[in-house]
Amino acid sequence: MVKRYVTALGIAAITLPTWAVDLAAQPVGTAVQVSSGWALVFDTEARYTSWSGPRGFPNSYAPGTPARGSLFHMPMAMALTGLVNPDLKLELLARTGFVEARQNAGGGLVGSVRTMTDTVVSGTVTWLGTPGIQPFFALNANLPTGSAYLNGTSAFARMDPDLVEVPTFGEGFNLGATLGANVPIGENSMATFSISHTHRGGFTRDPTDIFGGPDTRIQPGASTSGTAQLAHLMGALLLRAAATYTYTSATRIDGGLAVIQGDSFALTGTAAYTWSPEHQTTFTAAYSHTRSNANFILALNQFQREAFNSNSNALRLRLDHSWRVTQDWTLGVYGTWFNRDANAYIPTAFQFIPAKTKWGLGGSARYQLAPNAAITGRFEHFWVSQSSRPDIDFGGIIPGTAIPALSFTGWTVSLGGNITF
């Protein structure tokens, strides 16, 4: 096992990129592709996460104590970017990966899975020929190359998404489109408006209920969203804000209408300050609110808005600082804080997602191997504090379903890189 990881890390180390367009700001030392020629980038990363805590996942399984889990994830992608003609830019991307996950908790809550992940392909065309507005159209697809269906105990390899970055291993064929436009306001400001629609295909997965029922056919609802952004560069300070509103249509389970997830509203803001050519600090805040769901009531043959909002608000803050030590070396440190403010109830799975706070501290080192190739290593330690939950009350209390307050710790290490041709 260790040997395989070392091999994968080695492969990642020799195949790496740096072309990244950071969503916050360009990290110190990162080159921006402004050539009108074509650029082919290969980018990969090997990530390993390990966690431990007093209970396994799901936390409602009381005998699952104590617990530990791990996840190895190796995403890889290729991107091709260039100008078809002086007024038309094309960006293509294909991304897939490999994942191995395992959970080992008391009471038989033990499972592992090793599989490819789904594959995402993306294409974006941008019209550059009209001064003052650059419209773009993006078409993305999720190809179901992963494993939505997990046999037997391998289903226990699904872990808390706050502990590992891959909480599930596959879904259906999804197709999404985004139509938008960049509206530059002078050289240093930009407004961007876009609308998106994502059709989500059905897939069959192992049973979701607690009674060992038959396989479950999920037909997720489509989603439609609108996003508005504003960015402004003020000397050494970059400010950026984005707001997204998303509407989701009804999800069907085993052919029957089940639920309409509440509309969600998400906000994100970034401030990045370049102190000197060597030092840059970036602060990012992200917040989301989801309205209450509408559940399908069979007896009434209609959807009914739930009496209380079972969705919670989520807030994440992140502070990064990067330091370009030499022409080739860039070091970084960062801290993150994430909070979910209330217990969220998932009716189709009889599951509660508990209120939670997560802290993370990490560092990174980046080495420029050549003008067109770089490698990056990262390490992060995280702590999760999860609130207690009382017994479930479905018109009557179900004894023994309460979950005490829990604390988890874990770490993630990664090595990745990219090369541009």
């Binding site: 998404p161 607690i210 997720p220």
Partner: protein, 93 residues
């Protein structure tokens, strides 16, 4: 005479724009502003990526349409957690 003055005034008013257009490079990788200068490529590329990622946050449970090295900047746990649980979570045994 009046026509000449009007033409001179118009020429003066347009002079800065003409000068700006002359200074602009022949090729701008992300297009031009209304004033004819090049659009800041960092702002333009990041804005397109954000529109794509946030607008289609339900394209995949955890794979983003960006390079893996961009994940740290693009991934936002406030957008994905509950959604992932909603449809794929499992309660065993």
């Amino acid at each position: 005479m009046r026509t000449l003055i009007a033409a001179f005034t118009l020429a003066l008013a347009m002079a800065p724009q003409a000068a700006t257009a002359q200074q602009a490079p022949a090729t701008c990788p992300e297009g031009r502003t209304l004033q004819g200068t090049c659009v800041n490529p960092v702002l333009a590329q990041a804005a397109r990526t954000i529109a794509n990622v946030r607008g289609q946050s339900r394209l995949s449970y955890f794979i983003l349409p960006v390079l893996p090295s961009q994940d740290n900047a693009a991934r936002d746990p406030t957008l994905r957690n509950l959604r992932a649980f909603y449809e794929i979570d499992v309660v065993h045994p």
